[in-house]
């Protein structure tokens, strides 16, 4: 098992290095000029050029990439004289649009995205697996039809629609909840909960729909397997069979997808964060796209990549736990 995990981690690190290279090159080759972005209304070519030198964008692309990687380990300095400042390691660059080191920006916005993702993940897994299980156990009955309908409706509705609908319903028309205004759960737990409940629900409704179907189908399939019939023949209790064999078997593909879905969400739930004014990484990314803020774009893309790769490793390991055949291979 240790060898299996070590191999996966080494592969993940190599993959991240490759992602960092291609991401940096891809963004660096875009027509947007980061030096021009630091130069406002009174922009003159000589100012742009001076800023290009100051930011290191005058150097060859490979050297820029090397400085980027080096900065991650030893930090980077910007400016000269009294105007000099630095972004300490692990540095992902500096945003001249937001006047902050990219790492600081990510450290500030990531917790918002993390709490949003985690809460939504717990909700949708509970809802999705719960409804899927009920639908499978009550196949053909009204509970099954209700779960299937929920699934169809949930999948069909776009995030911004559900988001605005619940926001306007609960905050403007019914006035049951205050308008979302993000606070850290450690500073103001009540405000945190009242702010997050709607975005959690929005994301959960959307994602739970898919998981309901997946769980239902997985369980129905497993119920027809020989090992289940053997269990019944041996006189095992129905609850035991469902919990220990049917659900466990159905969970294997769900774990794979859930891990990747959760990791993707950590990269930023752009629409949900925008609708509910959550200062998370998704909204920061979309702003960076609009403003061609390349350091932030590279930083957030890399962060998202880290989570996707990490999730793959965790899923691989969990796969091994759930299905011993994987380990032996």
């Amino acid at each position: 098992m240790l060898l299996f995990v070590t191999r996966r981690i080494l592969f993940a690190l190599a993959l991240l290095l490759a992602v960092s290279f291609f991401t940096y090159m891809l963004f660096a080759m875009l027509p947007a000029d980061p030096a021009a972005l630091t130069c406002g209304k009174n922009c003159k070519p000589e100012i742009i050029e001076a800023n290009r030198v100051r930011l290191g964008y005058d150097k060859p692309l490979l050297e820029q990439y090397w400085l980027f990687i080096k900065g991650f380990f030893v930090g980077r300095d910007y400016g000269v004289g009294a105007a000099a400042f630095s972004c300490p390691a692990p540095s992902l660059g500096y945003s001249f649009s937001q006047h902050e080191c990219v790492t600081t920006l990510i450290a500030r916005t990531f917790p918002v995205t993390f709490y949003l993702s985690l809460g939504a993940f717990i909700l949708w897994m509970t809802l999705g697996i719960g409804l899927g299980t009920i639908a499978a156990l009550k196949r053909g009955r009204w509970q099954d039809r209700a779960a299937t309908t929920f699934s169809a409706v949930g999948v069909s509705l776009p995030t911004f629609y559900i988001g605005l609908l619940v926001l306007f319903s609960f905050c403007i028309w019914l006035r049951i909840l205050p308008f979302p205004s993000y606070e850290s759960p450690f500073e103001d737990p009540l405000s945190f909960l009242t702010t997050m409940i709607l975005p959690w629900t929005t994301l959960a409704v959307l994602s739970a729909a898919g998981y309901t179907r997946l769980t239902r189908n997985g369980m129905l399939e497993a119920m027809n397997e020989d090992f289940v019939r053997l269990g019944i023949a041996k006189g095992l209790r129905r609850r035991t069979i469902i919990r220990k064999y049917v659900l466990r078997s159905a969970l294997v593909p769900i774990v794979t997808i859930a891990g990747l879905d959760f990791a993707a969400l950590l990269g930023g739930a752009i629409i949900t964060e925008s609708v509910f004014s959550l200062p998370g990484m998704g909204r920061m990314s979309i702003r960076a796209v609009v403003e061609s803020d390349l350091p932030v774009l590279v930083g957030t893309t890399m962060t998202a990549a880290v989570f996707i790769v990490l999730a793959n490793v965790v899923v691989d390991v969990l796969y091994g736990v759930l299905d011993p055949r994987v380990r032996s291979k």
Binding site: N42, I48, Y182, M284
Partner: protein, 573 residues
């Protein structure tokens, strides 16, 4: 309201009479019922992710100037915190008065008040003001700010305080001299209204020891009645009382509210719904900009209470279209383009009549002394419709006078536009309109944030580019020279090779140094007409804007010079 690139900042009198005439609805209570009182929290709701710049030397847009200037940063002079005409008059702020000119307007002196302090309680000195102004010269670090100090102050090749040699710094210290509490500016040329220039926050003090260059934007030191408690981009800016602000030294700021909270990153649709609902804390909120789909609900649906807490007004901006006069060096071709345009269709694409009225030049009527109705080109339709026949006649004339320019127009004009939904719609109208007279466009979509750097680059070969401008203070000296002379900060017309340019520049220079303000106003009127007669650029609209506020906010008048709330003097009813 979609984010419009805001260029320039200050306008002259958007007088109450103008506002009243302009307002298709709504009213400006100017405080409404009850006396102004201290306490409470004022909230500002915005879709923006942050204040563009809180660094005083980088702050340069109307609303941001009104916000930072009334709450955190004092300058040498300021507009009076008044509604209507009075709001466009200036008064001493850090300075005891509006300054003293000598040497025929080439030397200006300001004496600082007693008792003025930074937020840490330390006294603001002449050196702090001089240092603040010097930062604006470091255009590689202190970006986006106004450059009038660089243009006016008599010092050559000064790179700002961060990289100046001792010799360069000494030259600056001579041009901006301190003697006791008096700061003296020695200018290259006479500037009759330099004390209007000093209303810009370029002339705010900065303590050298606290200056960290680019990063000062996030933690500037306050000299006003409020200071930063917290500032998180994308979330909020919270200002609380600056206990070291000395009210006796400040005749302008009333600082009624205990705190002011700027809420960033809100969906525009959500802001409107919140403001219309007027519930809870939103009763103490203000918001600039209303979504087009809600304008009718607010101004035309007969809800008088709602209408009474909103305003539809002329903001300081004029929109126009720049023509590259090096490529389009033929008046008849420029005229043909202008007459062929269906300006009403373009206005509809941008949001309809609520966006503004058709402009007859580049100086807005609110600049009363400098504005006169222009005579428009023959064939110009005042209702905004195209006059295709007149445009075709102009093309026919051009075929004889300048066939090469016509050939260029027929083969395709480089049309640079910001890649936004509104401009995509406008592009289709432009193509259709110019197609009717046989001209073609080669559209060049530019990513919006790159638009100005792109068209400001002398190497960019555009024929047509958008423009928008507001005067930086109440004088067309911040419009005509800026937009149409080679020394101007925003001349995209490339008109320097025009046969009339030398004469025009001479007339502009004469107007700039005229100390007789009324006579100077006449000169600006004539120069505005001079440009319209040559169509170096095509007038677009005198722009309008809309704002809304909660039922428990007082002093909500739109402050003329900035076309914004006088934020620091808002109060909780």
């Amino acid at each position: 309201m979609t984010k419009r690139r805001i260029i320039g900042a200050v306008s002259f009198a958007l007088a109450a009479s103008v506002l009243a005439a302009a307002c298709g609805g709504g009213s400006d209570s100017g405080g409404g019922d009850g006396e102004a009182k201290k306490g409470g929290t004022i909230r500002i709701l915005t879709s923006g992710e942050q204040i563009a710049h809180l660094d005083p030397q980088r702050n340069y847009t109307g609303s941001d100037l009104a916000f930072a200037g009334t709450t955190m940063h004092r300058s040498l002079t300021s507009y009076k915190y008044e509604e209507g005409d009075a709001g466009s008059e200036i008064a001493g702020d850090l300075a005891t008065d509006t300054g003293t000119a000598s040497n025929e307007g080439k030397t200006w002196a300001f004496t600082l008040r007693d008792g003025i302090t930074f937020e840490d309680g330390s006294a603001i000195t002449c050196a702090d003001v001089a240092y603040g102004v010097s930062r604006s010269f470091a255009t590689d670090v202190i970006t986006d700010g106004p450059t009038y100090a660089i243009s006016y102050i008599d010092v050559a090749d000064y790179p700002g305080p961060y990289t100046a040699t001792a010799e360069q710094q000494a030259a600056y210290d001579k041009a901006v001299a301190c003697e006791g509490n008096t700061i003296t500016f020695n200018l290259k040329n006479p500037v009759a209204d330099f004390n209007y220039t000093t209303t810009l926050l370029t002339f705010s003090p900065v303590p050298k020891a606290k200056d960290n260059g680019e990063k000062y934007d996030m933690n500037p030191v306050s000299s006003g009645p409020y200071k930063i408690e917290s500032y998180e981009v994308g979330k909020s800016l919270v200002l609380v009382r600056n206990e070291n602000w000395n009210a006796d030294s400040d005749e302008l700021r009333k600082a009624y509210a205990d705190s002011i909270v700027y809420e960033f990153g809100l969906e525009e649709a959500t802001i409107d719904e919140r403001m219309i609902a007027d519930a809870g804390d939103d009763q103490f909120a203000v918001s600039e900009g209303i979504q087009p789909e809600n304008l009718q609900t607010i101004f035309e649906n007969g809800d008088e209470a709602l209408k009474a807490r909103s305003v539809d007004y002329y903001d300081p901006y004029v929109s126009y279209t720049n023509l590259n006069n090096e490529n389009l060096s033929c008046y008849e071709v420029r005229k043909a383009i202008y007459l062929a345009l269906d300006r009403e269709a373009l206005r509809k694409a941008g949001g309809g009549p609520y966006t503004g009225d058709f402009a007859d030049g580049f100086v807005k009527p609110a600049l009363a002394l400098d504005y006169a109705k222009s005579t428009m080109p023959e064939g110009y339709n005042t209702d905004g419709s195209a006059n295709v026949e007149a445009a075709k006649a102009a093309v026919a004339e051009a075929e004889t006078k300048c066939p090469d320019v016509v050939a260029r127009a027929k083969s395709g004009l480089n049309f640079y536009y910001p890649d936004t939904p509104t401009w995509q719609k406008s592009l289709a109208i432009w193509q259709d309109n110019l197609g009717a007279i046989g001209f073609k466009l080669k559209p060049e979509a530019v990513e919006p944030s790159q638009y100005w750097p792109t068209v400001m680059n002398p190497e960019t070969d555009y024929d047509i580019a958008r423009g928008g401008w507001a005067p930086d203070w109440a004088n067309a000296s911040t419009v005509i020279p800026e937009l149409f002379t080679t020394g101007g900060g925003f001349n995209l017309t490339r008109n320097s090779k025009d046969a009339d340019y030398a004469e025009f520049e001479g007339l502009v220079n004469a107007a700039k140094v005229n100390l007789d303000r009324v006579a100077q106003g006449k000169q600006w009127q004539e120069l505005n007409q001079y440009v319209v007669d040559r169509l170096w650029a095509l007038p677009g609209s005198f722009l309008k804007a809309q704002s809304i506020w909660g039922s428990k906010v007082g002093n909500t008048f739109q402050w003329g010079p900035f076309g914004a709330f006088c934020f620091g003097n808002l109060y909780v009813k």
